[in-house]
Protein backbone atom coordinates (compact mmCIF):
# COMPACT_ATOMS: atom_id res chain seq x y z
CA UNK A 1 0.00 0.00 0.00
CA UNK A 2 2.86 2.32 0.72
CA UNK A 3 4.42 1.31 -2.60
CA UNK A 4 1.12 1.92 -4.30
CA UNK A 5 0.85 5.38 -2.72
CA UNK A 6 4.37 6.31 -3.73
CA UNK A 7 3.64 5.05 -7.26
CA UNK A 8 0.47 7.12 -7.52
CA UNK A 9 2.35 10.16 -6.21
CA UNK A 10 4.86 9.90 -9.04
CA UNK A 11 1.99 9.70 -11.49
CA UNK A 12 0.16 12.60 -9.92
CA UNK A 13 3.10 14.95 -10.11
CA UNK A 14 3.43 13.91 -13.81
CA UNK A 15 6.79 12.36 -13.19
CA UNK A 16 7.99 9.15 -14.90
CA UNK A 17 7.85 5.58 -13.64
CA UNK A 18 11.08 3.80 -14.58
CA UNK A 19 11.50 0.06 -15.26
CA UNK A 20 13.13 -0.69 -11.91
CA UNK A 21 10.48 1.19 -9.92
CA UNK A 22 7.72 -0.73 -8.24
CA UNK A 23 4.47 -0.72 -10.21
CA UNK A 24 1.09 -2.42 -9.79
CA UNK A 25 0.68 -5.60 -11.80
CA UNK A 26 -2.33 -4.22 -13.62
CA UNK A 27 -0.32 -1.15 -14.64
CA UNK A 28 2.44 -3.37 -15.98
CA UNK A 29 -0.02 -5.55 -17.85
CA UNK A 30 -1.80 -2.55 -19.32
CA UNK A 31 1.48 -1.06 -20.42
CA UNK A 32 2.79 -4.27 -21.94
CA UNK A 33 -0.43 -4.60 -23.86
CA UNK A 34 -0.37 -0.99 -25.04
CA UNK A 35 3.32 -0.80 -25.91
CA UNK A 36 3.23 -4.18 -27.63
CA UNK A 37 0.16 -3.24 -29.59
CA UNK A 38 1.85 -0.03 -30.59
CA UNK A 39 5.03 -1.87 -31.63
CA UNK A 40 3.01 -4.40 -33.62
CA UNK A 41 1.19 -1.55 -35.33
CA UNK A 42 4.48 -0.12 -36.53
CA UNK A 43 5.60 -3.49 -37.86
CA UNK A 44 2.32 -4.49 -39.47
CA UNK A 45 2.03 -0.92 -40.72
CA UNK A 46 5.08 -1.54 -42.86
CA UNK A 47 3.07 -3.82 -45.13
CA UNK A 48 0.43 -1.57 -46.68
CA UNK A 49 3.14 0.90 -47.65
CA UNK A 50 5.95 -1.58 -48.23
CA UNK A 51 3.94 -3.19 -50.99
CA UNK A 52 4.25 0.01 -53.03
CA UNK A 53 8.01 0.56 -52.73
CA UNK A 54 8.52 -1.55 -55.82
CA UNK A 55 5.96 0.51 -57.74
CA UNK A 56 6.77 4.04 -56.59
CA UNK A 57 6.30 6.24 -59.67
CA UNK A 58 9.42 8.38 -59.24
CA UNK A 59 12.83 7.65 -57.80
CA UNK A 60 12.43 10.49 -55.34
CA UNK A 61 9.18 9.02 -54.02
CA UNK A 62 10.73 5.58 -53.92
CA UNK A 63 13.50 6.89 -51.68
CA UNK A 64 11.01 8.72 -49.46
CA UNK A 65 8.79 5.67 -49.11
CA UNK A 66 11.67 3.28 -48.49
CA UNK A 67 13.03 5.59 -45.79
CA UNK A 68 9.60 5.95 -44.24
CA UNK A 69 8.93 2.25 -44.01
CA UNK A 70 12.42 1.84 -42.62
CA UNK A 71 11.54 4.40 -39.95
CA UNK A 72 8.54 2.32 -39.03
CA UNK A 73 10.78 -0.69 -38.51
CA UNK A 74 12.91 1.57 -36.32
CA UNK A 75 9.87 2.64 -34.31
CA UNK A 76 9.01 -1.00 -33.85
CA UNK A 77 12.52 -1.58 -32.55
CA UNK A 78 12.31 1.23 -29.94
CA UNK A 79 8.92 0.09 -28.80
CA UNK A 80 9.85 -3.56 -28.49
CA UNK A 81 12.84 -2.37 -26.47
CA UNK A 82 10.53 -0.33 -24.24
CA UNK A 83 8.35 -3.40 -23.79
CA UNK A 84 11.41 -5.48 -22.97
CA UNK A 85 12.09 -3.22 -19.99
CA UNK A 86 8.77 -4.52 -18.65
CA UNK A 87 10.03 -8.08 -18.81
CA UNK A 88 8.74 -9.47 -22.10
CA UNK A 89 10.98 -10.43 -25.02
CA UNK A 90 10.59 -9.46 -28.65
CA UNK A 91 10.27 -13.13 -29.48
CA UNK A 92 7.33 -13.56 -27.09
CA UNK A 93 5.64 -10.47 -28.39
CA UNK A 94 6.10 -11.48 -32.02
CA UNK A 95 4.60 -14.84 -31.25
CA UNK A 96 1.65 -13.17 -29.56
CA UNK A 97 1.19 -11.09 -32.70
CA UNK A 98 1.33 -13.89 -35.23
CA UNK A 99 -0.86 -16.16 -33.16
CA UNK A 100 -3.46 -13.40 -32.98
CA UNK A 101 -3.31 -13.04 -29.18
CA UNK A 102 -2.18 -9.42 -29.41
CA UNK A 103 -3.67 -6.81 -31.69
CA UNK A 104 -2.36 -3.95 -33.77
CA UNK A 105 -4.03 -0.83 -35.06
CA UNK A 106 -7.02 -1.81 -37.16
CA UNK A 107 -6.28 0.82 -39.77
CA UNK A 108 -3.67 -1.49 -41.27
CA UNK A 109 -6.35 -4.02 -42.07
CA UNK A 110 -7.54 -1.77 -44.85
CA UNK A 111 -5.90 -2.27 -48.24
CA UNK A 112 -3.73 0.21 -50.14
CA UNK A 113 -5.12 0.39 -53.63
CA UNK A 114 -3.29 3.22 -55.38
CA UNK A 115 -0.19 5.30 -54.99
CA UNK A 116 -2.32 8.13 -53.63
CA UNK A 117 -2.80 5.95 -50.57
CA UNK A 118 0.88 6.58 -49.77
CA UNK A 119 -0.02 10.23 -49.40
CA UNK A 120 -3.29 9.68 -47.60
CA UNK A 121 -1.71 7.36 -45.09
CA UNK A 122 0.84 10.05 -44.35
CA UNK A 123 -1.72 12.80 -44.09
CA UNK A 124 -4.66 11.13 -42.37
CA UNK A 125 -3.36 7.95 -40.80
CA UNK A 126 -0.08 9.38 -39.54
CA UNK A 127 -1.98 12.54 -38.67
CA UNK A 128 -4.40 10.60 -36.50
CA UNK A 129 -1.52 8.64 -35.03
CA UNK A 130 0.18 11.88 -34.06
CA UNK A 131 -2.95 13.16 -32.34
CA UNK A 132 -2.99 9.93 -30.37
CA UNK A 133 0.70 9.91 -29.70
CA UNK A 134 1.68 13.46 -28.85
CA UNK A 135 0.01 13.15 -25.45
CA UNK A 136 1.83 9.85 -24.98
CA UNK A 137 5.15 11.69 -24.96
CA UNK A 138 4.11 12.70 -21.43
CA UNK A 139 2.91 9.24 -20.52
CA UNK A 140 3.88 8.01 -17.08
CA UNK A 141 6.15 5.12 -18.10
CA UNK A 142 9.62 6.51 -18.87
CA UNK A 143 10.88 4.27 -21.69
CA UNK A 144 7.56 4.49 -23.50
CA UNK A 145 7.39 8.26 -23.20
CA UNK A 146 10.93 8.72 -24.46
CA UNK A 147 10.33 6.37 -27.40
CA UNK A 148 7.24 8.40 -28.22
CA UNK A 149 9.14 11.66 -28.33
CA UNK A 150 11.46 10.31 -30.96
CA UNK A 151 8.65 8.61 -32.85
CA UNK A 152 6.42 11.67 -32.88
CA UNK A 153 9.15 13.76 -34.45
CA UNK A 154 9.55 11.31 -37.28
CA UNK A 155 5.81 10.88 -37.65
CA UNK A 156 5.26 14.59 -38.21
CA UNK A 157 7.91 14.47 -40.86
CA UNK A 158 6.08 11.58 -42.51
CA UNK A 159 2.82 13.42 -42.26
CA UNK A 160 4.24 16.44 -44.05
CA UNK A 161 5.70 14.21 -46.76
CA UNK A 162 2.36 12.48 -47.24
CA UNK A 163 0.50 15.75 -47.50
CA UNK A 164 3.12 17.05 -49.89
CA UNK A 165 2.65 14.02 -52.16
CA UNK A 166 -1.08 14.71 -52.27
CA UNK A 167 -0.49 18.39 -52.98
CA UNK A 168 1.80 17.50 -55.85
CA UNK A 169 -0.67 14.99 -57.26
CA UNK A 170 -3.48 17.57 -57.04
CA UNK A 171 -1.38 19.81 -59.30
CA UNK A 172 -1.04 16.93 -61.77
CA UNK A 173 -3.50 15.35 -64.18
CA UNK A 174 -7.24 14.84 -63.76
CA UNK A 175 -6.62 11.15 -63.19
CA UNK A 176 -4.24 11.96 -60.38
CA UNK A 177 -6.74 14.30 -58.71
CA UNK A 178 -9.42 11.63 -58.96
CA UNK A 179 -6.99 9.15 -57.44
CA UNK A 180 -6.41 11.43 -54.46
CA UNK A 181 -10.12 11.97 -53.87
CA UNK A 182 -10.83 8.25 -54.15
CA UNK A 183 -8.10 7.51 -51.65
CA UNK A 184 -9.36 10.10 -49.16
CA UNK A 185 -12.86 8.67 -49.51
CA UNK A 186 -11.59 5.25 -48.51
CA UNK A 187 -9.39 6.36 -45.64
CA UNK A 188 -11.43 9.06 -43.95
CA UNK A 189 -13.72 6.84 -41.89
CA UNK A 190 -11.09 4.29 -40.92
CA UNK A 191 -8.90 7.21 -39.79
CA UNK A 192 -11.65 8.41 -37.44
CA UNK A 193 -11.85 4.88 -36.08
CA UNK A 194 -8.18 5.09 -35.10
CA UNK A 195 -9.15 6.99 -31.95
CA UNK A 196 -11.08 4.00 -30.71
CA UNK A 197 -14.75 3.64 -29.85
CA UNK A 198 -16.81 6.52 -28.47
CA UNK A 199 -16.01 7.31 -24.84
CA UNK A 200 -19.15 5.69 -23.52
CA UNK A 201 -18.08 2.37 -25.10
CA UNK A 202 -14.46 2.57 -24.04
CA UNK A 203 -14.25 0.77 -20.69
CA UNK A 204 -10.51 1.08 -20.10
CA UNK A 205 -10.18 4.80 -20.63
CA UNK A 206 -10.83 5.88 -17.02
CA UNK A 207 -8.20 3.60 -15.50
CA UNK A 208 -5.67 4.45 -18.21
CA UNK A 209 -6.15 8.14 -17.57
CA UNK A 210 -5.80 7.70 -13.79
CA UNK A 211 -2.47 5.96 -14.44
CA UNK A 212 -1.33 8.67 -16.79
CA UNK A 213 -1.00 6.11 -19.57
CA UNK A 214 -3.64 7.93 -21.47
CA UNK A 215 -4.19 11.65 -21.14
CA UNK A 216 -7.20 12.43 -23.36
CA UNK A 217 -10.38 10.55 -24.20
CA UNK A 218 -11.01 9.02 -27.59
CA UNK A 219 -13.68 11.55 -28.48
CA UNK A 220 -11.53 14.50 -27.48
CA UNK A 221 -8.76 13.34 -29.74
CA UNK A 222 -11.12 12.54 -32.58
CA UNK A 223 -12.56 16.05 -32.39
CA UNK A 224 -9.08 17.55 -32.47
CA UNK A 225 -8.23 15.47 -35.55
CA UNK A 226 -11.35 16.51 -37.43
CA UNK A 227 -10.83 20.19 -36.64
CA UNK A 228 -7.25 19.90 -37.83
CA UNK A 229 -8.07 17.99 -41.02
CA UNK A 230 -10.91 20.12 -42.38
CA UNK A 231 -8.80 23.14 -43.34
CA UNK A 232 -6.09 20.84 -44.69
CA UNK A 233 -8.63 19.11 -46.92
CA UNK A 234 -9.82 22.47 -48.13
CA UNK A 235 -6.31 23.62 -48.95
CA UNK A 236 -5.73 20.38 -50.79
CA UNK A 237 -8.95 20.66 -52.75
CA UNK A 238 -10.54 17.39 -51.70
CA UNK A 239 -13.91 16.66 -50.14
CA UNK A 240 -14.19 14.69 -46.94
CA UNK A 241 -16.89 12.04 -47.43
CA UNK A 242 -19.12 13.08 -44.54
CA UNK A 243 -22.36 14.93 -45.34
CA UNK A 244 -22.78 15.79 -41.64
CA UNK A 245 -19.46 17.55 -41.41
CA UNK A 246 -20.14 21.22 -40.60
CA UNK A 247 -18.62 24.00 -38.52
CA UNK A 248 -20.47 24.55 -35.26
CA UNK A 249 -19.97 28.18 -34.33
CA UNK A 250 -21.33 27.69 -30.86
CA UNK A 251 -18.97 24.84 -29.94
CA UNK A 252 -16.13 26.39 -31.86
CA UNK A 253 -15.62 23.00 -33.41
CA UNK A 254 -16.88 20.81 -36.24
CA UNK A 255 -19.88 18.59 -35.94
CA UNK A 256 -19.35 15.36 -37.84
CA UNK A 257 -20.86 11.94 -38.52
CA UNK A 258 -19.92 8.76 -36.75
CA UNK A 259 -17.96 6.00 -38.43
CA UNK A 260 -19.61 2.65 -38.84
CA UNK A 261 -18.85 1.18 -35.41
CA UNK A 262 -20.25 -2.19 -36.36
CA UNK A 263 -17.59 -2.35 -39.07
CA UNK A 264 -14.99 -1.22 -36.55
CA UNK A 265 -15.78 -4.09 -34.21
CA UNK A 266 -15.81 -6.59 -37.06
CA UNK A 267 -12.34 -5.45 -38.13
CA UNK A 268 -11.12 -5.62 -34.55
CA UNK A 269 -12.47 -9.15 -34.33
CA UNK A 270 -10.40 -10.10 -37.36
CA UNK A 271 -12.83 -9.76 -40.24
CA UNK A 272 -11.40 -6.72 -41.93
CA UNK A 273 -10.31 -6.81 -45.54
CA UNK A 274 -6.67 -7.59 -44.75
CA UNK A 275 -6.44 -9.05 -41.24
CA UNK A 276 -5.64 -12.56 -42.37
CA UNK A 277 -3.23 -11.35 -45.03
CA UNK A 278 -1.28 -9.06 -42.69
CA UNK A 279 -0.79 -11.66 -40.01
CA UNK A 280 0.06 -14.36 -42.54
CA UNK A 281 2.66 -12.06 -44.10
CA UNK A 282 4.25 -11.37 -40.72
CA UNK A 283 4.18 -15.01 -39.80
CA UNK A 284 5.82 -16.03 -43.04
CA UNK A 285 8.63 -13.49 -42.67
CA UNK A 286 9.19 -14.59 -39.09
CA UNK A 287 9.13 -18.30 -39.89
CA UNK A 288 11.29 -17.89 -42.99
CA UNK A 289 13.82 -16.02 -40.88
CA UNK A 290 14.04 -18.62 -38.11
CA UNK A 291 17.08 -20.35 -39.55
CA UNK A 292 18.91 -17.01 -39.81
CA UNK A 293 18.21 -16.09 -36.20
CA UNK A 294 19.30 -19.56 -35.13
CA UNK A 295 22.49 -19.28 -37.16
CA UNK A 296 23.32 -15.93 -35.58
CA UNK A 297 22.80 -17.37 -32.09
CA UNK A 298 24.87 -20.44 -32.87
CA UNK A 299 27.65 -18.32 -34.33
CA UNK A 300 27.66 -16.00 -31.32
CA UNK A 301 27.76 -18.99 -28.99
CA UNK A 302 30.62 -20.93 -30.50
CA UNK A 303 32.62 -18.17 -32.17
CA UNK A 304 32.22 -15.81 -29.24
CA UNK A 305 31.15 -13.11 -31.66
CA UNK A 306 28.26 -10.74 -31.31
CA UNK A 307 26.16 -12.23 -34.07
CA UNK A 308 26.25 -11.36 -37.68
CA UNK A 309 25.14 -7.77 -37.68
Amino acid sequence: AELEARFQAVIDRKDRIEPRDWMPDAYRRTLVRQVAQHAHSEIIGMQPEGGWIGRAPSLRRKAILLAKVQDEAGHGLYLYSAAETLGVSRQELTEALISGRQKYSSIFNYPTLSYADMGTIGWLVDGAAICNQVPLCRTSFGPYGRAMIRICKEESFHQRQGYELLTTMMRGTDEQRAMVQESVDRFWWPSLMMFGPPDDESPNTAQSMAWGVKTHTNDELRQRFVDMSVPQAKALGVTLPDPDLVWNEERGAHDFGQPDWAEFWEVVKGNGPCNAQRVAHRKKAWDDGAWVREAALAFAAHDGGTGGA
Binding site: K62, Q70, T173, A285, W291, V292, E294
Partner: protein, 276 residues
Amino acid sequence: PATLATYCLMLGDDALVLSQRLGEWCSNAPDLEEDIALSNIALDLLGQARLLLARAAAADPSQVPALPDGSPVPDEDRLAFFRDARQFRNVRLAEVPNGDFAQTVVRILLFSSWRLALLDRLSDPLTRSRDAVLAAVAAKGVKELTYHRDFAGRWFLTLARGTEESRRRLLAGLDELWPYWAELFETHDIERAAALAGVGVDPAGVAADVEAVLDQVLMASGVDRPVLPPVVGGHDDPGHHEHAAHQGRDGVHTEALAELLAEMQVVARAHPRGQW
Protein backbone atom coordinates in the same frame (compact mmCIF):
# COMPACT_ATOMS: atom_id res chain seq x y z
CA PRO B 1 29.63 12.59 -73.91
CA ALA B 2 27.65 9.64 -75.34
CA THR B 3 30.28 7.30 -73.92
CA LEU B 4 30.20 9.00 -70.54
CA ALA B 5 26.39 8.90 -70.56
CA THR B 6 26.21 5.21 -71.42
CA TYR B 7 28.90 4.45 -68.89
CA CYS B 8 26.93 6.26 -66.20
CA LEU B 9 23.81 4.37 -67.23
CA MET B 10 25.65 1.10 -66.73
CA LEU B 11 26.73 1.97 -63.22
CA GLY B 12 23.38 3.60 -62.50
CA ASP B 13 21.34 0.65 -63.72
CA ASP B 14 23.43 -1.73 -61.62
CA ALA B 15 22.51 0.26 -58.55
CA LEU B 16 18.89 0.84 -59.51
CA VAL B 17 18.10 -2.78 -60.27
CA LEU B 18 19.79 -4.17 -57.17
CA SER B 19 18.09 -1.50 -55.10
CA GLN B 20 14.77 -2.68 -56.45
CA ARG B 21 15.57 -6.26 -55.49
CA LEU B 22 16.68 -5.27 -52.00
CA GLY B 23 13.56 -3.19 -51.53
CA GLU B 24 11.58 -6.41 -51.91
CA TRP B 25 12.97 -7.46 -48.54
CA CYS B 26 11.13 -4.63 -46.83
CA SER B 27 8.88 -6.19 -44.15
CA ASN B 28 10.18 -9.65 -45.09
CA ALA B 29 13.60 -9.85 -43.46
CA PRO B 30 14.57 -12.35 -40.74
CA ASP B 31 14.40 -9.67 -38.05
CA LEU B 32 13.96 -5.92 -37.70
CA GLU B 33 17.67 -5.19 -37.67
CA GLU B 34 18.16 -6.88 -41.04
CA ASP B 35 15.03 -5.27 -42.42
CA ILE B 36 16.50 -1.90 -41.59
CA ALA B 37 19.96 -2.79 -42.87
CA LEU B 38 18.69 -4.07 -46.21
CA SER B 39 16.53 -0.97 -46.65
CA ASN B 40 19.57 1.10 -45.90
CA ILE B 41 21.60 -0.60 -48.58
CA ALA B 42 18.70 -0.26 -50.99
CA LEU B 43 18.47 3.43 -50.19
CA ASP B 44 22.18 4.00 -50.69
CA LEU B 45 22.10 2.28 -54.06
CA LEU B 46 18.99 4.18 -55.06
CA GLY B 47 20.77 7.41 -54.20
CA GLN B 48 23.74 6.42 -56.34
CA ALA B 49 21.41 5.44 -59.18
CA ARG B 50 19.68 8.82 -59.12
CA LEU B 51 22.93 10.74 -59.34
CA LEU B 52 24.27 8.50 -62.09
CA LEU B 53 21.12 8.61 -64.18
CA ALA B 54 21.00 12.37 -63.82
CA ARG B 55 24.64 12.55 -64.90
CA ALA B 56 23.88 10.34 -67.91
CA ALA B 57 20.97 12.55 -68.93
CA ALA B 58 23.05 15.71 -68.60
CA ALA B 59 25.93 14.21 -70.56
CA ASP B 60 23.78 13.02 -73.45
CA PRO B 61 20.16 14.17 -73.51
CA SER B 62 19.55 12.07 -76.62
CA GLN B 63 19.60 8.94 -74.48
CA VAL B 64 16.64 10.14 -72.41
CA PRO B 65 13.32 8.65 -73.56
CA ALA B 66 10.88 11.12 -75.08
CA LEU B 67 7.48 11.63 -73.45
CA PRO B 68 4.37 13.54 -74.51
CA ASP B 69 4.95 17.28 -74.88
CA GLY B 70 4.81 19.14 -71.64
CA SER B 71 5.32 16.05 -69.50
CA PRO B 72 6.82 17.11 -66.19
CA VAL B 73 8.62 13.79 -65.65
CA PRO B 74 12.26 14.54 -64.74
CA ASP B 75 15.15 12.96 -66.61
CA GLU B 76 16.11 10.47 -63.90
CA ASP B 77 12.56 9.12 -63.94
CA ARG B 78 12.36 9.00 -67.72
CA LEU B 79 15.45 6.84 -67.69
CA ALA B 80 14.29 4.66 -64.82
CA PHE B 81 10.67 4.19 -65.81
CA PHE B 82 10.44 4.60 -69.57
CA ARG B 83 13.14 2.30 -70.88
CA ASP B 84 12.49 -1.34 -71.76
CA ALA B 85 14.51 -4.25 -70.45
CA ARG B 86 16.51 -4.26 -73.69
CA GLN B 87 17.76 -0.76 -72.89
CA PHE B 88 18.90 -1.50 -69.38
CA ARG B 89 22.66 -1.87 -69.07
CA ASN B 90 23.02 -3.51 -65.67
CA VAL B 91 24.96 -6.70 -65.05
CA ARG B 92 22.72 -9.71 -64.60
CA LEU B 93 23.93 -10.35 -61.07
CA ALA B 94 21.81 -7.38 -60.01
CA GLU B 95 18.57 -8.68 -61.49
CA VAL B 96 18.47 -12.36 -60.51
CA PRO B 97 15.31 -12.91 -58.44
CA ASN B 98 15.65 -12.90 -54.69
CA GLY B 99 16.14 -16.24 -53.03
CA ASP B 100 16.57 -16.60 -49.30
CA PHE B 101 18.56 -14.33 -46.99
CA ALA B 102 21.75 -16.31 -47.65
CA GLN B 103 21.50 -15.69 -51.39
CA THR B 104 20.99 -11.98 -50.68
CA VAL B 105 24.07 -11.93 -48.46
CA VAL B 106 26.09 -13.56 -51.23
CA ARG B 107 24.77 -11.13 -53.80
CA ILE B 108 25.60 -8.09 -51.69
CA LEU B 109 29.06 -9.47 -50.96
CA LEU B 110 29.84 -10.12 -54.63
CA PHE B 111 28.27 -6.91 -55.88
CA SER B 112 29.69 -4.56 -53.29
CA SER B 113 33.22 -6.02 -53.43
CA TRP B 114 33.25 -5.38 -57.17
CA ARG B 115 31.54 -2.03 -57.14
CA LEU B 116 33.63 -0.75 -54.27
CA ALA B 117 36.75 -1.40 -56.36
CA LEU B 118 35.26 0.43 -59.34
CA LEU B 119 34.12 3.45 -57.36
CA ASP B 120 37.40 3.49 -55.49
CA ARG B 121 39.29 3.89 -58.77
CA LEU B 122 36.81 6.44 -60.00
CA SER B 123 37.35 8.61 -56.92
CA ASP B 124 40.93 7.93 -55.86
CA PRO B 125 43.07 11.03 -56.45
CA LEU B 126 45.55 8.97 -58.49
CA THR B 127 43.08 7.31 -60.80
CA ARG B 128 40.10 9.64 -60.49
CA SER B 129 37.55 10.04 -63.30
CA ARG B 130 38.09 13.14 -65.36
CA ASP B 131 34.38 13.73 -64.99
CA ALA B 132 34.19 15.62 -61.72
CA VAL B 133 30.55 14.71 -61.15
CA LEU B 134 31.21 11.02 -61.56
CA ALA B 135 34.27 11.26 -59.31
CA ALA B 136 32.20 12.93 -56.61
CA VAL B 137 29.39 10.39 -56.88
CA ALA B 138 31.96 7.64 -56.62
CA ALA B 139 33.60 9.17 -53.56
CA LYS B 140 30.25 9.21 -51.76
CA GLY B 141 29.55 5.69 -52.89
CA VAL B 142 32.83 4.33 -51.56
CA LYS B 143 31.77 4.98 -47.99
CA GLU B 144 28.39 3.41 -48.54
CA LEU B 145 29.75 0.34 -50.27
CA THR B 146 32.32 -0.20 -47.57
CA TYR B 147 29.43 -0.57 -45.16
CA HIS B 148 27.53 -2.86 -47.53
CA ARG B 149 30.54 -5.10 -47.95
CA ASP B 150 31.10 -5.24 -44.22
CA PHE B 151 27.49 -6.11 -43.60
CA ALA B 152 27.59 -8.89 -46.16
CA GLY B 153 31.02 -10.11 -45.08
CA ARG B 154 29.95 -10.41 -41.45
CA TRP B 155 26.80 -12.26 -42.37
CA PHE B 156 28.70 -14.48 -44.79
CA LEU B 157 30.95 -15.53 -41.92
CA THR B 158 28.01 -15.92 -39.55
CA LEU B 159 26.04 -18.12 -41.91
CA ALA B 160 29.07 -20.14 -42.93
CA ARG B 161 29.85 -20.91 -39.29
CA GLY B 162 26.37 -20.74 -37.81
CA THR B 163 24.40 -23.94 -38.27
CA GLU B 164 24.52 -26.73 -40.81
CA GLU B 165 21.37 -25.36 -42.33
CA SER B 166 22.75 -21.85 -42.68
CA ARG B 167 25.96 -23.14 -44.23
CA ARG B 168 24.03 -25.30 -46.68
CA ARG B 169 21.93 -22.33 -47.73
CA LEU B 170 24.93 -20.06 -48.03
CA LEU B 171 26.72 -22.49 -50.33
CA ALA B 172 23.58 -22.92 -52.42
CA GLY B 173 23.30 -19.14 -52.78
CA LEU B 174 26.93 -18.91 -53.78
CA ASP B 175 26.50 -21.66 -56.38
CA GLU B 176 23.42 -19.96 -57.76
CA LEU B 177 25.10 -16.60 -58.26
CA TRP B 178 28.60 -17.69 -59.17
CA PRO B 179 27.82 -18.15 -62.90
CA TYR B 180 27.09 -14.39 -63.03
CA TRP B 181 30.38 -13.41 -61.39
CA ALA B 182 32.65 -13.53 -64.46
CA GLU B 183 30.40 -11.08 -66.30
CA LEU B 184 31.37 -8.36 -63.82
CA PHE B 185 34.92 -8.34 -65.10
CA GLU B 186 34.25 -8.55 -68.82
CA THR B 187 35.18 -5.29 -70.49
CA HIS B 188 32.44 -3.86 -72.62
CA ASP B 189 33.38 -1.59 -75.53
CA ILE B 190 31.84 1.36 -73.73
CA GLU B 191 33.81 0.62 -70.60
CA ARG B 192 36.99 0.34 -72.64
CA ALA B 193 36.27 3.66 -74.33
CA ALA B 194 35.39 5.31 -71.02
CA ALA B 195 38.59 4.01 -69.48
CA LEU B 196 40.63 5.24 -72.43
CA ALA B 197 38.99 8.64 -72.14
CA GLY B 198 39.91 8.69 -68.48
CA VAL B 199 36.34 8.96 -67.27
CA GLY B 200 35.68 5.30 -66.49
CA VAL B 201 37.34 2.15 -65.21
CA ASP B 202 38.05 -1.05 -67.11
CA PRO B 203 36.49 -3.69 -64.82
CA ALA B 204 39.05 -6.27 -65.95
CA GLY B 205 41.64 -4.10 -64.26
CA VAL B 206 40.13 -4.51 -60.81
CA ALA B 207 39.55 -8.26 -61.07
CA ALA B 208 42.71 -9.31 -59.24
CA ASP B 209 42.08 -6.98 -56.31
CA VAL B 210 38.45 -7.96 -55.99
CA GLU B 211 39.17 -11.65 -56.21
CA ALA B 212 41.74 -11.23 -53.44
CA VAL B 213 39.21 -9.57 -51.16
CA LEU B 214 36.66 -12.24 -51.89
CA ASP B 215 39.17 -14.99 -51.26
CA GLN B 216 39.82 -13.53 -47.82
CA VAL B 217 36.15 -13.72 -46.93
CA LEU B 218 35.88 -17.24 -48.32
CA MET B 219 38.93 -18.39 -46.45
CA ALA B 220 37.85 -16.88 -43.16
CA SER B 221 34.53 -18.66 -43.63
CA GLY B 222 36.05 -21.97 -44.63
CA VAL B 223 34.25 -21.86 -47.96
CA ASP B 224 35.79 -23.04 -51.23
CA ARG B 225 35.59 -20.98 -54.35
CA PRO B 226 32.90 -22.57 -56.55
CA VAL B 227 34.19 -24.32 -59.65
CA LEU B 228 31.13 -23.48 -61.72
CA PRO B 229 31.73 -21.94 -65.14
CA PRO B 230 30.04 -18.70 -66.20
CA VAL B 231 26.74 -18.66 -67.99
CA VAL B 232 27.18 -18.53 -71.76
CA GLY B 233 25.10 -17.90 -74.80
CA GLY B 234 22.41 -15.71 -76.10
CA HIS B 235 24.52 -13.07 -77.75
CA ASP B 236 22.94 -11.42 -80.73
CA ASP B 237 25.95 -9.93 -82.32
CA PRO B 238 25.74 -11.17 -85.91
CA GLY B 239 28.70 -13.29 -86.85
CA HIS B 240 30.37 -12.66 -83.52
CA HIS B 241 31.02 -16.14 -82.33
CA GLU B 242 33.02 -15.65 -79.20
CA HIS B 243 31.37 -16.05 -75.86
CA ALA B 244 29.82 -12.71 -75.19
CA ALA B 245 29.85 -12.70 -71.43
CA HIS B 246 29.03 -9.02 -71.05
CA GLN B 247 25.39 -9.65 -71.82
CA GLY B 248 23.68 -7.38 -69.32
CA ARG B 249 25.86 -4.47 -70.46
CA ASP B 250 24.56 -5.14 -73.99
CA GLY B 251 20.95 -5.15 -72.83
CA VAL B 252 20.54 -8.92 -73.06
CA HIS B 253 19.21 -9.97 -69.69
CA THR B 254 17.57 -12.82 -67.87
CA GLU B 255 13.82 -13.32 -68.05
CA ALA B 256 13.59 -11.82 -64.60
CA LEU B 257 14.45 -8.27 -65.61
CA ALA B 258 11.32 -7.67 -67.69
CA GLU B 259 9.24 -8.92 -64.77
CA LEU B 260 11.08 -6.66 -62.37
CA LEU B 261 10.52 -3.67 -64.63
CA ALA B 262 6.86 -4.52 -65.13
CA GLU B 263 6.37 -3.93 -61.43
CA MET B 264 8.76 -1.03 -61.08
CA GLN B 265 7.37 0.96 -63.98
CA VAL B 266 3.67 0.24 -63.78
CA VAL B 267 2.45 3.38 -62.03
CA ALA B 268 4.86 5.76 -63.74
CA ARG B 269 3.92 4.45 -67.18
CA ALA B 270 0.21 4.69 -66.47
CA HIS B 271 0.76 8.44 -65.97
CA PRO B 272 3.27 9.74 -68.50
CA ARG B 273 2.20 13.28 -67.65
CA GLY B 274 1.97 12.67 -63.92
CA GLN B 275 3.56 14.72 -61.15
CA TRP B 276 4.69 12.94 -58.02
